[in-house]
């Protein structure tokens, strides 16, 4: 029963909200704008916002200098791969925890989350050695494995909270309708959890896309994703703001666009059971 609101108040609130929104977004906007400036304009004082000579030369140069497409492809494969693999492992676990809760279930869940608190640097050398011995260094497979393990607790938790919201009666109904375990999961549970699974997918793609420690340390050339691409611009000789901005824009644009298009999904899923 939403209450009708008068327009004057609405206008004021709209104004404030837009101001705040633009302020928060400003750094990104400014980066994108800078990517279209020449280097000289990028550091000019006073800074120009829209009235400058728009140029694409930074993009051209970045493109020429590094194989953006390869990095992009690696990012896609790694973030998608790790998320999908994570889902495959997490869905059964979450199913089990949500519909067959045991005394220990919550402890297990919390333990899973606590593994995320391991500082990655603490275990880099062991992992590096293990990966070397397994010939996983600089392979997409290796990164998919690492990122899967890193994000698995989050995936499990998210899916778990989603499954929790599905009434057990529906699964029982399916059982009464003659569905076996497999039918139950495939035809009933999974489709019902699609929105949740979609948002889990999204959040984890974002997390995997932006993960910059393992992706940087376990790759060289073949499997290096966009984080490595950025690392090659982070401090070139001379502060080339414009080129840096162009590279940054290219690195974050795909995920930003994906995020924007799917923000409704994302918002719905981002509750982590925080909302009852």
């Amino acid at each position: 029963m939403a209450r009708a609101v008068n327009n004057k108040r609405r206008a004021v609130v709209t104004l404030i909200a837009w101001a705040v929104g633009i302020a928060i977004f400003f750094p990104i906007l400014y980066t994108v704008l800078t990517s279209f400036k020449t280097e000289a304009e990028a550091v000019a004082s006073p800074p120009s916002f829209l009235f400058f000579d728009w140029t694409l030369e930074n993009y051209a140069e970045v493109q020429e200098r590094s194989n953006y497409f390869l990095h992009f492809l690696n990012s896609v494969v790694i973030s998608l791969g790790s998320t999908v693999l994570g889902l495959i492992i997490a869905v059964p676990a979450a199913w089990s925890m949500a519909f067959f809760p045991k005394k220990r279930t919550k402890d297990i869940l919390m333990w899973m989350l606590s593994t995320k608190m391991l500082p990655p640097v603490g275990v880099l050398v062991p992992i590096y050695l293990l990966f070397r011995d397994a010939s996983l260094l600089d392979t997409r497979t290796g990164l998919v494995i690492v990122l899967t393990m890193i994000n698995l607790p989050i995936i499990v938790w998210m899916i778990f909270t989603y499954f929790k919201e599905i009434p057990g009666e529906i699964l029982e109904a399916a059982r009464m309708d003659g569905a076996n375990l497999w039918d139950e999961v495939v035809y009933v549970l999974t489709p019902m959890a699609i929105p949740g699974i979609a948002s889990t997918l999204l959040l984890n793609i974002i997390l995997a896309w932006n993960e910059a420690f393992w992706t940087l340390n376990l790759t060289a050339a073949k499997a290096a994703p966009l984080t490595a691409f950025i690392a090659s611009y982070s401090s070139p000789e001379g502060l080339f703001y414009a080129k840096l901005s162009a590279a940054s824009t290219m690195a974050i644009a795909p995920i930003l666009i994906l995020g924007w298009f799917s923000q409704k999904q994302l918002v719905r899923g981002l509750t982590f059971g925080a909302v009852k």
Binding site: R65, V125, L137, N217, A220, S234, P236, E237, L239
Partner: protein
């Protein structure tokens, strides 16, 4: 066969990457994969890889700091089979010395650098001073104060302040040499409690406070370059390679006003300049050593220099490696800083860097594995002193303590 090459993301390396088609054309069957990283990340990556025998790279870009250490451990392939036209003897002796162990060459220099003074002729003139070819620190201090005009965002001197053994400590170690200070005495005892260091650091901090730009404690090479190029610095003491950037009218607003001088001294017989060379080395574990050596030879050859000159002009040739380049009149004409660069490089002596004798090799670094950590930690202290969060005395005291600590832990002293 695919060679994986780790390079640092500076302009010369990037240019090499672009020109590498020449190599693949000459050597069908060899493909190149590039891993271009920012300096610190690169160092971390290649060191981890070579130390754990990860085998991810076939050619690594490394500096004069790593080469002697790694070569001693047998991690690098000796460059013995260089083609006859390579002309090893053409390499500048100081550089070649830094890349050799027991007379054997373990990495080929891609470009070399020292440090020198770059200054704005117009501002110097305005201040009523003339820059001598080999200035003293006193002159630098005087000139810096005279040139400073903070209201118009003109700062007399820009120096490195960002913490890091390759950042502020490169500059400060080299400067300390000219003040008669050293890292260790012959018993590996840290020397930060000596008056020489105190003098060095006091001078540096005072100078920067009076005539330096704001935020100097986070300025490294890049930040200072940007400042200088936008006309905000009167003087800048830094790597010789910067010369080609600050004189390039495309990027620099002050290109035609730049003058050069040797790094300053204090009359003690050592100048405050360093020696560095980015070089290409081949890790011992690689299966593709032969192809890798071909590539290294190509990238550091005379013909590569000529190719760059032909395509991009002489001013853009990677400097500091070959005598023949400095003898080349075309290069001298295109690069007004050539002479000064050569002199600076020749003035540095890695094997004998300080006024008093030391047990280590290296001008602006100490070629022991522990130095990266110690250097950076000390750099943090000095950076804090510059930022004003600690006093010079406190910074020196902490530096002394932590260095002693680490050296004890590493077993150099008991």
């Amino acid at each position: 066969e695919t060679l994986t090459i780790a390079t640092v993301n500076n302009g010369d390396m990037i240019r090499m990457q672009k020109l590498s088609e020449d190599f693949t054309a000459q050597n069908p069957g060899i493909d190149l994969d590039w891993v271009t990283l920012e300096e610190n990340v690169l160092r971390q990556r290649v060191t981890t890889d070579i130390a754990t025998k990860g085998g991810q790279y076939d050619v690594m870009t490394i500096g004069t700091y790593e080469v002697p250490i790694w070569a001693n451990k047998g991690w690098l392939v000796e460059l013995a089979d260089l083609p006859s036209d390579y002309d090893v003897d053409d390499l500048l002796p100081a550089i070649r010395g830094g890349l050799s162990v027991d007379g054997k060459l373990y990495a080929a220099p891609f470009y070399g650098e020292s440090s020198m003074v770059m200054y704005r002729k117009d501002l110097m003139e305005k201040a009523g001073l003339t820059m001598p070819e080999a200035p003293t620190w006193d002159f630098i201090a005087k000139a810096a104060k005279a040139m400073t005009d903070k209201d118009n965002e003109i700062y007399g001197i820009c120096l490195r302040g960002k913490a890091g053994w390759g950042e502020n400590m490169a500059f400060l170690s080299a400067t300390a040499n000219s003040f008669g200070a050293r890292w260790f005495d012959m018993d590996w005892k840290a020397q930060f409690d000596t008056p020489q260091w105190k003098e060095t650091l006091t001078f540096y901090v005072n100078l920067m406070n009076e005539a330096g730009p704001p935020g100097a404690s986070s300025n490294g090479f890049n930040e200072n370059l940007a400042l200088f190029q936008t006309g905000k610095c009167g003087m800048w003491i830094d790597a010789t390679v910067a010369a080609s950037f600050v004189t390039n009218p495309k990027d620099s607003t002050v290109a035609d006003q730049v003058g050069f001088a040797l790094a300053p001294d204090n009359g003690l017989g050592k100048r405050g300049n360093w020696l560095w060379a980015w070089s290409l080395g081949i890790p011992a574990g690689t299966q593709k050593a032969e192809a890798a050596q071909k590539f290294v030879a190509w990238a550091t050859s005379k013909s590569y220099l000529e190719m760059v000159a032909e395509k991009e002009g002489w001013a853009n040739v990677p400097p500091g490696t070959r005598k023949s380049l400095y003898a080349n009149p075309k290069y001298q004409a295109a690069a007004p800083f050539a002479q000064m660069t050569l002199e600076s490089i020749n003035a540095a002596d890695p094997n004998n860097p300080t006024v008093d004798p030391v047990p280590y090799v290296g001008v602006q670094f100490v070629a022991i594995p522990e130095f990266q950590g110690i250097g950076t930690a000390v750099g943090q202290q000095f950076s804090a002193a510059l930022a004003g969060t600690v006093t010079v005395d406190q910074a020196l005291q902490s530096a002394q303590q932590l260095t002693e600590r680490e050296m004890r832990k590493a077993g150099y002293v008991d």
